[in-house]
């Protein structure tokens, strides 16, 4: 039932994709990582130095973001560089725009009821 509701909201993005995007963005550190790597690509160790948590923990956050296609990693020499994936974010934005559409639809529905008076 809930899956059905999902599908009607976003037809071209699978439920698994949606789950991954929302899970990825539900965490403040991960949102901060996305912000940083959209500005400039950074190594996982450079990112890790910016947070009060272990390298492994930061690496885990990056992996979650990578699975959601919000960031991508590239190896350069001995370093793993993380960069933002604007396409992934745009796709997520598309999902959300549909929600705004739902409320616009509701407001238009109310306006048309009022117009019958």
């Amino acid at each position: 039932m809930q899956l059905t509701y999902n599908q009607m909201v976003v037809e071209q993005v699978s439920d698994t994709d949606i789950d991954r995007i929302f899970q990825a963005l539900a965490d403040a550190t991960r949102r901060d990582i996305v912000r940083r790597v959209l500005q400039s690509e950074q190594s996982v160790s450079a990112l890790a130095s910016g947070y009060a948590m272990s390298f492994a923990a930061v690496q885990k956050h990056v992996a979650v973001l990578e699975r959601a296609a919000l960031v991508a990693k590239a190896r350069r020499g001995r370093e793993q560089l993380v960069h933002g994936n604007p396409d992934g974010l745009r796709r997520a934005q598309l999902i959300l725009d549909r929600f705004e559409e739902l409320w616009r639809h509701r407001a238009a529905g109310i306006a048309s009821i009022l117009a019958e008076d």
Partner: protein, 161 residues
């Protein structure tokens, strides 16, 4: 013409939809109070809502379902916690099973609807308050509607940042 804005406060886990209508507040109040009017606008496109119960009193509950294009149904429930006619309405909103009974494990959103007169029109603000962040995360994993509402704020903040 109807104008609408969406405001998101990620830190407070809230989202507000604001729309203005060319009608007095008493008239706009009726689209919430009267289930026959309510069901004409609550459902998403192609998913008309049917309210089988709408006990519009403090402590009262509503049951509704939305019917999809292939005959599938998606249910929901409300429980009213404050009603100050015709200016303010507060209710909890959650998912329901096929028979319309609340799904206990599902995320509950508190909705506050405020109607006020601004320049001779009615401004309707719908504030969605998500409850507990842990519940919230669980709900996000289920990919529900409210999850998407919150994520609007998250993504906007990232794109703006």
């Amino acid at each position: 013409m109807t104008s609408i804005t969406v405001e998101k406060d990620l830190e407070a886990l809230t989202m507000t939809f604001v729309a203005e209508f060319d009608a007095p507040v008493e008239r706009v109040w009726q689209v919430w109070e009267d289930p026959r009017q309510l069901e004409r606008w609550w459902g998403p496109p192609g998913w008309p809502a049917t309210f089988t119960r709408h006990d519009f009193t403090v402590g009262g509950q509503s049951r509704y379902y939305m019917s999809g294009p292939d005959g599938e149904k998606s249910g929901g429930w409300w429980e009213f916690t404050a009603i100050d006619s015709p200016h303010r309405l507060v209710f909890d909103d959650g998912f329901a099973d096929e028979s319309g009974e609340p799904l206990r494990e599902s995320m509950v959103t508190t909705m506050t609807v405020t109607l006020e007169t601004v320049d001779g029109r009615t401004r309707m603000s719908n504030l969605g308050q998500f409850t507990d962040p842990e519940e919230f995360e669980k709900m996000l994993a289920m990919g529900m509607e409210e999850g998407m509402r919150l994520a609007v704020g998250q993504i906007d903040a990232i794109l703006a940042g």
